[in-house]
């Protein structure tokens, strides 16, 4: 499988990778924050604005029709990407955060009542915590937390014990952005279904790495961001089961989402437009299709194979460096490695690596409760994508070893 893709050829499709940063060739290991964009995505953006920029739907002219066709073609492409049954089950949003908020506001305010329980996990991104906290506060509902082990895996037994008829909604991250843990969402969904709870999967970190099939998963909602799957920023999607979306009230009011407006009463448009008030982000939506086509062309299995080999290679090399502690050692992981270096704060580590052209992320990764569970204030995190190479990992490991050496010598000097 691995031999079927040529990483150097793939790298050529990402112009941003071909540069020096601080005098060193760029090593971009911050893909869980946002991935880089291939030429075809950049050209699609350019092509839209140069060729057929026009507002979508209802337009009586050729450009409007062209823009609408391209916009709706992306919806169909996203449907296929997540394996949904119906195109109208795909709602365009700004990204994962807006999609979760849409569900929390619309579904939550219509169907969650006082005393109901909403369950999230201890490894959620703030985006999948705060909207539910707000909802619970407003409705008098109760937020329950699925605990996480010291390896960074969910405690499924504790989850099943927390479940009851009171549980109305389970919102859980498919893959942890901080730790890379792949959660057993099949088990979560199956257990939640037994008590009649709806399930939302935060797919921001699963969508870039492996195949998604919302029908096989049988989740009620799945959300993701375009910019993490080699697409533009500012566009993402919410998948929701048709019958649930139809029962939900609109999230925002305005243009596009109405059927008829009088001062006495407004009737709402049909799915998916009911949830897409205002002029949408047309250009970025159009180019999202090209991002998905890029992924399809490489093949998700090939991407997963390559990233997994990088993960194993980097993990092994990093373990060999004295003073490095990996945070999150789940059995099933994507290519995300969180770590700490003894005696060196992760902020300092990030700056020292940056001086060598190596881009990683440092801090709490918008998962402060998870960091609290581990008793730390953050980590350094590398996250790898299809265009990363073993040579880049060698460069990174060498830089990391140099820093470790420097600080262990300093410690000896002091003691």
């Amino acid at each position: 499988m691995l031999n079927s893709i040529d990483i150097n050829k793939i790298r050529e499709e990402f112009p941003v990778l071909n540069q020096e940063v601080n005098g060193f060739p760029l090593v971009y290991f911050d893909n869980a924050a946002t991935s880089q964009k291939p030429t075809e995505v950049l050209e699609a953006l350019n092509g839209y604005y140069r060729g057929y920029n026009s507002n979508v739907h209802r337009g009586a002219h050729t450009l409007a029709a062209k823009a609408t066709d391209a916009f709706e073609a992306t919806r169909e492409k996203v449907r296929d990407f997540v394996g949904a049954a119906h195109t109208e089950e795909i709602i365009f949003t700004k990204g994962t955060t807006e999609a979760i908020n849409l569900v929390a506001y619309s579904y939550g305010r219509a169907f969650i009542k006082e005393g109901d329980e909403i369950m999230i996990s201890a490894m959620e991104h703030h985006s999948n915590i705060v909207p539910w906290q707000v909802l619970c506060e407003e409705k008098g509902a109760v937020l329950k937390i699925i605990p996480v082990s010291s390896e960074g895996e969910l405690d499924y037994e504790a989850f099943e014990n927390l479940l009851s008829e009171k549980t109305k909604f389970v919102a859980v991250v498919h893959v942890s952005n901080s730790l890379g843990t792949v959660n057993d969402v099949q088990r979560i969904i199956a257990a939640a279904k037994k008590v009649g709870a709806k399930v939302l999967l935060d797919g921001a970190q699963s969508s870039p790495h492996f195949n998604i099939d919302v029908q096989a998963l049988d989740c009620d909602f799945y959300v993701f961001s375009g910019h993490k799957i080699y697409g533009p920023t500012g566009i993402g999607a919410l998948y929701g089961k048709k019958e649930i979306l139809e029962a939900m009230p609109p999230f925002l009011g305005g243009g596009e989402m109405i059927k008829e407006v009088t001062f006495a009463k407004t009737t709402y448009n049909e799915l998916p437009y009911k949830f897409e008030a205002g002029t949408p982000n047309i250009g970025d939506t159009v180019a999202l299709k090209n991002a998905i086509e890029f992924i399809e062309r490489i093949g998700k299995d090939n991407i997963a194979d390559h990233e997994n080999s990088l993960l194993l290679y980097a993990t092994e090399k990093m373990r060999a460096i004295p003073g490095i502690r990996l945070v999150g050692t789940a059995k099933n992981k994507v290519s995300v490695i969180s770590f700490l270096m003894e005696g060196v704060h992760h902020f300092d580590l990030g700056m020292m690596l940056d001086a060598r052209g190596i881009a990683i992320r440092t801090g709490h990764h918008c998962t402060q409760p998870l960091m609290n569970e581990f008793g730390i204030d953050g980590t350094a995190r590398l996250s790898l994508a299809v265009y990363n190479t073993k040579e880049e990992i060698d460069t990174f490991v060498k830089a990391l070893s140099n820093i470790a050496n420097r600080f262990s010598k300093q410690k000896q000097k002091i003691s």
């Binding site: 704060h345 902020f347 300092d348 020292m352 001086a355 801090g363 420097r406 300093q410």
Partner: protein, 142 residues
């Protein structure tokens, strides 16, 4: 030495590094290591400078009309940054501290080196030090 003389000295030292990012970072961290440690009892919430991403504790004393600063941080680079500020402003009168234009920061290209987030933190440190000076001045004037 006046605050300007100290600033010129710092500019001289940094010029030897010729803008090399890595060496500059290491040098800043070394400067931080030389800063005398703050006792743990002073590392409390009240002494934390707000607006910094890293934790920075700052304490002051007023001795013979001059402000004595002590500081520490949980990150080495930030500790180096505040050590530079202390080097310029330590044991100066409140008026000197208030009136000092810390031009060395721009001259050594610090903002480009540390980025906008850390620059905001640096601004917060300076603001806090000047606030202390203002408070001591007000107290002395009374």
């Amino acid at each position: 030495m006046s605050t300007s003389e100290i600033q010129e000295e710092i500019i001289d030292e940094f010029s030897i590094l010729e803008g090399d990012r890595e060496n500059t970072i290491f040098y800043i961290m070394e400067l931080g290591e030389k800063l005398s440690a703050l006792e743990d009892s002073a590392k409390v919430e009240d002494n934390i400078i707000k607006g910094c991403q890293s934790k920075v504790w700052l304490t002051t004393d007023f001795n013979e009309g001059k402000v004595v600063f002590k500081a520490d941080s949980n990150t080495a680079i930030t500790k180096g940054l505040i050590s530079l500020l202390i080097r310029v402003l330590n044991k100066k009168t409140p008026d000197e501290i208030i009136d000092t234009d810390l031009y060395f920061i721009q001259k050594i290209g610090m903002n480009q080196l540390i980025g906008s987030q850390r620059s905001n933190g640096l601004t917060a440190m300076i603001k806090q030090m000047k606030m202390y000076a203002l408070a001591y001045k007000a107290k002395a004037d009374n």
